[in-house]
């Protein structure tokens, strides 16, 4: 079932920043884009790399190992070598906290 989990304070991230979290054992990369928050599974769908170690630019995160691009808002692959989407998690803001929904 889907459950909301507390992830971070809203002021913990600036725009175009990313942080890696472990939520109920699930690696999550939390992004902030134009004030809004987005969460992706923190593992590149191509290789064993953390997207939270990646480089954020133009709405995409670039995998630190192979430079493939993933759309931060959807998890969709945007450039080679990534061909499979990365799982995207629902995010909401409650007060000054960011929460992430996980299916556990």
């Amino acid at each position: 079932m889907t459950e909301w989990h507390d992830a971070a304070a809203t002021d913990a991230l600036g725009d175009d920043e990313v942080m890696g979290l472990s939520i109920a054992g699930v690696p999550v990369a939390l992004f902030r884009q134009e004030g809004a928050f987005f969460a992706l599974h923190d593992l590149c769908s191509h290789g064993a790399a953390r997207l939270s170690d990646g480089f954020v630019e133009n709405g995409c995160v670039e995998c630190p190992l192979h430079q493939g691009l993933v759309d931060i808002r959807s998890g969709a692959p945007c450039s080679a070598p990534i061909t499979e989407p990365v799982r995207s998690y629902p995010v909401r803001v409650v007060g000054d906290r960011v929460e992430i929904a996980l299916d556990l």
Binding site: G54, F55, E57, P64, L65, Q67, A80
Partner: protein
Amino acid sequence: MTAMPESETTCVVVGGGQAAAWIARTLRTEGFAGRLVLIGEEPHWPYERPALSKAFLQGTGSVEAITLLNATLAAEARIECWLGQPVTSVDREARVVTTADGRSVAYDTLFLATGGRARRLPGLDSVPAERVHTLRTLTDSERLRGALAGAKRLLVLGGGWIGLEVTATARGFGVEVTVVEVAPRLCARTMPPVVSDWLHTLHESHGVRMVTGVGVAGIAATAGGVAVTLADGGRLEADQLLLGIGIEPEVGLAAAMGLALDDGIVVDAQGRTSDPRIFAAGDVARHPNAFAGASLRLESWANAQNQAIVAARAALGGTGVYADIPWFWSDQYGMNMQMLGVPGLGTRAVARGRPEAGNGCWLMLDDTGVAVGAVAVNATRDLRVLRKLLENGRAPLPDAWADTATPVQRLPSRPNVRMD
């Protein structure tokens, strides 16, 4: 010029590696509707090679994890794959490709992604084949893994990237390793002395015996293995021998076709050869590199992928050029190294952090102060930010680069031009 192919036209890709797979995949994703034939010499489906000296050799990687095209994907994308079939001739007038078993196919556009062949040394005939290894193909890696499982001592001839990665993997198995490099230092072709020295120390700290600046005078079989005589009279014995002395670009076909060659097939910034119907990409292609200001033939994963994509798009009428700054990586003893630009051209190293201690990045400047490249050790973000600056024709101020109190994203920069 090749016009946008109609549905009855045929594209043929000669080669079965990473570049070949990305050419074929890109042609389809960019809308090519005609016949598409990929002809590979290896029996395997196209795969990525980096893991062959690392995870795959170690036994922790799978074939699936490195495969770029399989029967399902090929069927979906309507890519005819002729595997295990060397191409024996290409008739440029008739535009026909013929394979060793006599199959032939006519092309409108041809791509050569023939890669390279691991160099060997003369005088190996007397040594049993099962004791001598090269590392280029999946088959090579499987064979070497099997050999290392029963080996106590490995002798690596060649202190380049392949030799060092295999060395690190073999040390992980507990195999004793000696590396012999004829040049005075490791990775001398691509790296500045500061990086060579660090690699030397790193490997010695993991128990590797390093012999640099000494050539090989002879190789002979012994009762239980291989013996190498060095030019200085020294003698080394081992159970297994790896030749890590580079590749020769596979240009036999291109030479027979009369295409322009220069240590590889000469291509323009779109991957086009001296015949406008024929493109080349990957390890075999020498391209004009804007960042280096010179023509380069790169043997890297990123080059194989990205040059191939540009060439496939160009064949369909695309106007994009291949203008990436050279970039590759290595993994040894759990450390990730990333190399950007042409660091070997640098004469002054400015360290950010402590790369020699496993966390930092050397920025390499030439005599005129121009940033020519960088080498990062477990510092991917530093390198990525630097790449962005260099792509924009800028370079960090060296003093700021060395000051880790300044966040990498906020480094003051200047135009990356001569300072005199």
